[in-house]
Amino acid sequence: MRIGVDPTKCQGHARCYGLAPALFDLDEYGLSTVVGDGKVPGGLEDEARLAIANCPEYAISEVAEI
């Protein structure tokens, strides 16, 4: 599983970081990026799905594997 954050949609709600701190980084303005290339380490798939499902801006989605 691989995930991505659309920087044109993210508004810094930080819900993803709260739910899945291992998968996201926030900058000082609250904007989120995925850790590394967005590849979800084994065992964290549920956290990734929660982050996708709780983003108020629909900014996070599953993306194609590299």
């Binding site: 930080a14 739910l19 000082e28 108020p56």
Partner: protein, 400 residues
């Protein structure tokens, strides 16, 4: 506190200051969502109010048609007392891009998740101390003795201003937000805050510190110091937006836990639920409704909106929309899918949301740690404030 004529038709003559609406808006939203999802009123100027999640979030994202130059839910009748000193209002909340963009970037780092982590210990100590004050008494006013005391002191700490003035801050902010339809109180609150910050800014010019006010004063914009009116407006915003709102969320959450013993006991037994529970309580009892002004004629969700009319983005109602949240009127502490917009949506997402969330979590943790069993005091009234910010202002509870 009934300051408004009665409402007969919520679709065509709504009033967010109606005493019945303030006390229990939920059935009214439900009725509007089904019958007339964008309500209208001519009270205090022509104003539209969407109550469905999709409409509210679409409006929040359409900053071309819906400007933040007017954000007060209650328009001010007469001469606005703050305009001579604050020509830009309280940026970034009262600004559109580009002013919104750069003033917001000044504020956001002060409320980043890392900075907020640094305020947690101080918040926890504050909450624990407040509980110490009444834990032995067997009863407390959870609004006045607890919720109301927390955010104002955290914000004072962040601004680097004396927390002994907390009662003054609270009074001024209530005058502005909760009594906005009373010109005398609104004037008093505005003058109080502006005079206070003018004095604080003067002190920091000669003796700068490490605080937000000092940083704003020394900010350069295009090679010149930031205009004083912008510094003043931004500083006042932090106080005004950071006090009533979070206090309301803490109070509403404690009201829910006092009135719903099964949820309270579950949260005590399963403390790991707290992060999800905080989001769910924010969803179910969102305090804040924000206004916008229509910039150009537009048809929105079938309604002909005219330039100059106001709209109220009813985030609290959006968060109770059953189309967006199954079983929306039930608090589900571990609700897994929860795209709530208690902090708004789009470019004006609450800049202090990380701080508010931390304060709510710590306030609930410290209360429940010491007072796991409590209930609404029998036969005593709970008093709610509403309009721009909804939450309990009198909340008598009893415990062993």
């Amino acid at each position: 506190m009934n300051r408004t004529p009665p409402v007969d038709n919520w679709a065509t003559d709504f009033d967010v200051l109606d005493a019945g609406y303030v006390a229990d808006p939920f059935p009214i939203w439900e009725q509007l969502r089904r019958g007339c999802p964008v309500a209208h009123t001519a009270r205090r100027g022509s104003t539209w109010m969407p109550t469905r999640y999709d409409d509210v979030t679409a409006m929040a994202h359409d900053v071309d048609h819906f400007s933040s130059l007017e954000i007060s839910v209650i328009p001010f009748d007469g001469t606005a007392p703050d305009r001579p000193l604050l020509p830009y209002g309280l940026p970034p909340i009262s600004a559109d891009p580009p002013l919104h963009t750069w003033t917001r970037r000044l504020l956001l780092p002060w409320f980043s998740h890392r900075r907020v982590d640094g305020y947690e210990a101080m918040t926890r100590e504050l909450c624990a101390g407040l509980v110490d004050g009444f834990a032995g008494a067997g009863r407390a006013d959870a609004a006045v003795d607890y919720a109301q005391q927390i955010p104002v002191r955290v914000i004072a700490h962040l601004l680097g201003v004396p927390s002994e003035l907390s009662d003054n801050f609270t009074g001024w902010v209530r005058d502005i937000l909760e009594f906005a339809d009373d010109p005398e109180r609104r004037q008093r609150g505005t003058q109080g805050i502006l005079q206070f910050f003018l004095d604080q800014l003067d002190r920091r010019r000669s003796d700068p510190g490490e605080d937000l006010l000092s940083e704003l004063l020394h900010t350069q914009v295009d090679g010149a110091p930031m205009e004083e009116s912008l510094v003043l407006g931004t500083a006042a915003l932090v106080l005004i937006a950071g006090v009533d709102t979070t206090w309301s969320a803490i109070g509403s959450s404690l009201w829910h836990l006092a009135a719903h013993p099964a949820d309270r006991r579950r949260l005590v037994a399963e403390p790991d639920l707290m992060p999800l529970a905080v989001e769910e309580l924010l969803r179910a009892y969102s305090p804040v409704t924000m206004a916008r002004v229509v910039t150009q004629d537009v048809e929105f969700s079938g309604c002909p909106m005219k330039a100059g009319e106001k709209v109220l983005m009813n985030f609290p109602a959006a968060n109770r929309d059953p189309e967006a949240f199954p079983d929306a009127d039930t608090v589900v502490l571990d609700r897994a899918i929860n795209r709530h917009v208690a902090f708004g949506s789009g470019i004006h997402r609450c800049a202090g949301s990380n701080l508010a969330r931390m304060e709510l979590r710590v306030a609930l943790e410290e209360w429940l740690r010491r007072i796991p069993e409590f209930h609404l005091a029998e036969g005593e009234e709970v008093a709610w404030a509403g309009g721009q910010v909804r939450g309990p202002r009198v909340l008598p509870v009893e415990f062993l």
